[in-house]
Symmetry: C2
Subunit: 436 residues, 2 copies
C-alpha cells in the first residue's frame, strides 16, 4: 500500500480488506477523503472501524455521523460499549440518539433522521432560500425537501430544494409548497414504509407522531437497505432457516447452527409422522413391495409443487400484490394449477412405468394397476401440495405470523405425510383383490 | 365517487381499483393533481392507463414522462402498439427513447435518464446556479447532481444542488465539485449497479460509454425497484419456478402453468431415479419392510438441510457477501454444520425409535440395529445435503448460470437419490447377518 492511495482506489479494494487493513488504509488518506469514505461505507463497516480504534480517536469519527446513522452504528456495537460511545457524542446529538434508540429498529421512527429543514408558512421563497443556505452549510447529511410546519409542528406542505431553486423568490412559500404531503406514523413497520416509497417514488417522507407532529424524515437511501434486508429475511425463512441478521460469513458457527437446528429439528419431528404413517401401511408394503418404490417420487412431487406455490404467494404478499382478501381468487387459481400440473406429472409417470415394464418387466403382472395408482396419486398429491402451499401463508398471516415462515421445507413436510395417506388410500382402492 | 375527490384519496384507493375505474377517477382530478398522480404510480399502471385511453388523449400523458420512464412504459406495452406510441412523442424525446430501447432492460443504460444538468469546468458557482435555475424549470424529473464535463464529455466531477446552494457564488465550480466521481458503464448489469448504490449511498450515478463519455444518469428511485425485482426473481427461482416477471394475479393462467410445469417436470424426471434406486433395493425391502418406514424421514431430512444451505449461499452471493473465491471457506463451514446438524437429528431419531420400541414394540428384535442404521444414515444424509446445497450455487455460478437456479426443490431432488443410496448402504453393513 503506498502513500498516494486515493479514496477511489481504497473504495475499490474495500470489500477484500480486513478491519486492521482498512484502519491502516484510512489513515493514509487525506482527512476529507477519509471522512468521505467513512460516510459511504456500510453501518457495519463503520462500527467495526470505530470499535477497532483507540477510544481517544473514536469521538471525532462518531461526531461525523447524522443522529440516525449514529444510532444505527450504536446498534451494531456490543451492548457493553454503547454507553461509552454515547458519552462521546455532543449533548444535543446524544439526546437525539438516545431518543432514536428507543424506537424498534424496524419502525419508521428507527429509520428516521430527526434533523430536517423546517420553514414557517409566513416565509417568502427568498427567506426560505436564505434559511436553507445556512441549514445546508451546517448539516452534512443530505436533505432533499424542506417542510413547512404550523405552530403545533404539523406538516402543512413540502418543497424540494430543486423546486425552491426554480421558484420566483418573491412568492410566499405556501404558494410553492405541495400541500397535504403523504406522512408515515413513527411506529409504522419499515416494510410498510418501503411500500409507500415504492408506490410514490418519493425521495423522503416526513415521520409524524399520533398527534400529527413532525418527528423526522425517512430518506430513500435507508429504504433501499430495508428492501434488501426484508428480502434477505424472507429468502432465509423460505429456505427453512431463521433470519441470520448478519452476512453469512460474519455469523459465528454456533449461532449459525442454532439458527438452522431449530427449524430442522421441528421439521424432523413433523416428518416422523411419515414413519408412523408408513407403519400403518406396513402390511400393504409387505404384500406389495413395489408400492414402496414410488413413495419418494410421489411425496417429493407434492413437496415440489407446494414449494412453488408457497414461494409465489409469500412473495406476492410481501410486495402487496396479494392481500388476505384475495384468498378465494388464489385458491381457485391454485386448485386449477394443481390439477393441471398433477395431470402433467401423472402422464409422465404413466409413460415411465409402461416403458420400464416393456423394457425390464419391472412391475409384475399388475403393472397397469400400479401405473393407475401412481398416476391418480400424483394428481391428488400435487393438487394437495399446491393448495397447501398457497393457503399456508394466508393462514399464518391471518394468525398474525410471518407468511414467509411457510417455508419450502415446512410445506414439503406437511405434504409428505398427507401424500403418503393419499397414495396408500388410492392403492387400497385400486389394488384391492389383486395385489392387496 | 364524488366530484371533490382529492389526489390523496385516489392514491389510497388506487390498489383496489381496476383500470377503467382508475381512468374515470383520474378524469375527476384537477389537471395538475392528475399529472402528479400519473407520475407517481408504477410504470405498469401508467402503461395500463395510457393503453386504455383514446389514441388522441395518449399524446399529452406520454409527453409528461422523462425519456427513461417513457422507454419503460413502452416496454410494458404490446409490441404492436409501440411504434404508434413512439410517434406521439416529440422528435427529440423520440430519438432518446429509441436510443434507450436499444439497451437491454437490465443494463445501466436501460435504467438511465439521458437528461442531466451539465456544467462547464470554467463556470463559477454563480453561473452554474443561474444555469441550473433555468434547467430546473425546464425539466420535471428530479435531478440531484449537476455534472462538470470536459470538451470530450468526460465527467470531471459532480456537484449536488445542495452543495451549490451552500457554496460561495464567486468560487470556480472546479473548487466546489467532487472530482473523479464513481461512474458505471452503460452495459453494467442492473444488479451490479444496485450493489454500487448500496456500497456508497449515492442518490445518482453517471453512466458512461467505453470511452468514458457521459450518456446519462441512474437515480436511486430506479434502484429501489431493481433491488425489489431481483429479490423477487431469486425468491421465485429458489421456490423452483421460473421468474414470473409480473405480479402473481396479473400472470395469465396458461403462462403461470408453463412457468411452473417446466421445472416441476424436470424435477420429476430427476426424482424418478429414486424409483430406480428403490428398485435396486427391492429385495432388501422385501426382507426387512421396516427399512421402508424410514425412507421419507431420512431423505426429507437431507432435502431440508440442503434447502437451508442453498438459500443461505444463494442470498449471500446475491448480496456480494460470498464470491467464487470463498468456496473453500464455505465448504469447511458447511461440512462442520452438516455434521453437527446431522448429529442432532440422529440423536432425536435414536430417542424416537427407542421410545416407540419401549411403548409399542414397533421394530422387532433388532430395533437396536435399526436405530443405529437410521442414526448413522441421518448424519451421512444431512452432511451430504448441506454440502450439496452449499456447493451447487458455486457450480452454477462457475458455469455462468444463475446460482438462484439451485432451488430448494432441485437440491432436495439431488439429495433424495443420494440419500437412498446412503441409507441402504448403511443398512447393508449394519444389518448384514441379522435382518439382511
Amino acid at each position: 500500500m503506498n502513500d498516494s492511495l486515493t479514496q477511489d482506489e481504497l473504495a475499490d479494494a474495500w470489500p477484500v480488506l480486513d478491519t486492521a487493513e482498512r484502519l491502516q488504509a484510512v489513515g493514509l488518506l487525506s482527512r476529507p477523503d477519509a471522512e468521505d469514505l467513512f460516510l459511504t461505507v456500510s453501518t457495519r463497516d463503520q462500527a467495526e472501524l470505530v470499535l477497532a480504534m483507540e477510544p481517544a480517536e473514536r469521538r471525532m469519527w462518531l461526531r461525523l455521523l447524522a443522529p440516525d446513522d449514529a444510532a444505527d452504528l450504536l446498534q451494531e456495537a456490543p451492548l457493553a460499549e454503547r454507553a461509552a460511545m454515547l458519552a462521546l457524542l455532543d449533548p444535543a446529538t446524544r439526546r437525539e440518539v438516545t431518543g432514536l434508540l428507543a424506537y424498534a429498529e424496524d419502525q419508521a421512527g428507527g429509520l428516521m433522521n430527526p434533523h430536517y429543514a423546517r420553514l414557517r408558512p409566513d416565509m417568502s421563497v427568498a427567506e426560505a432560500t436564505a434559511y436553507l443556505h445556512r441549514f445546508a452549510r451546517a448539516h452534512r447529511d443530505t436533505t432533499y425537501y424542506a417542510y413547512v410546519l404550523d405552530a403545533e409542528q404539523r406538516v402543512l406542505g413540502t418543497a424540494s430544494f430543486r423546486e425552491l431553486f426554480a421558484a420566483d423568490p418573491a412568492r410566499p412559500i405556501t404558494d410553492v409548497m405541495r400541500p397535504d404531503p403523504v406522512t408515515v406514523r413513527e411506529d409504522l413497520d419499515q416494510e410498510e414504509v418501503s411500500k409507500i416509497f415504492a408506490a410514490h417514488h418519493f425521495l423522503a417522507l416526513p415521520v409524524v407522531d399520533d398527534a400529527g407532529r413532525m418527528k423526522g424524515v425517512v430518506t430513500i437511501d435507508d429504504v433501499v437497505d430495508v428492501v434488501r434486508e426484508e428480502a434477505t429475511e424472507d429468502i432465509q425463512k423460505i429456505g427453512g432457516t431463521e433470519a441470520l441478521d448478519a452476512p453469512y460469513l460474519a455469523v459465528g458457527f454456533a449461532s449459525m447452527v442454532r439458527k438452522r437446528a431449530g427449524w430442522l429439528s421441528a421439521l424432523f419431528l413433523g416428518e416422523m409422522l411419515t414413519a408412523t404413517a408408513m407403519g400403518r401401511y406396513e402390511d400393504e408394503i409387505a404384500r406389495a413391495v413395489v408400492l414402496a418404490l414410488f413413495v419418494p417420487l410421489i411425496i417429493s412431487s407434492g413437496g415440489n409443487s407446494g414449494s412453488q406455490a408457497t414461494t409465489l404467494v409469500i412473495r406476492a404478499m410481501a410486495l402487496g400484490e396479494v392481500g388476505l382478501r384475495d384468498w378465494w381468487r388464489v385458491i381457485r387459481r391454485e386448485l386449477a394449477s394443481g390439477l393441471v400440473l398433477g395431470s402433467i406429472l401423472a402422464a409422465i409417470g404413466l409413460v415411465r412405468i409402461l416403458v420400464w415394464q416393456g423394457m425390464f418387466h419391472a412391475y409384475g403382472a399388475h403393472y397397469g394397476l400400479i401405473a393407475a395408482t401412481v398416476s391418480l396419486s400424483l394428481i391428488g398429491v400435487v393438487t394437495f401440495g399446491t393448495l397447501a402451499g398457497s393457503m399456508l401463508p394466508f393462514v399464518l398471516r391471518r394468525l398474525g405470523l410471518d407468511p414467509a415462515s411457510a417455508s419450502a421445507p415446512f410445506v414439503a413436510t406437511l405434504v409428505d405425510v398427507t401424500g403418503l395417506v393419499i397414495y396408500f388410500s388410492v392403492a387400497s382402492v385400486v389394488l384391492r383383490g389383486t395385489l392387496l
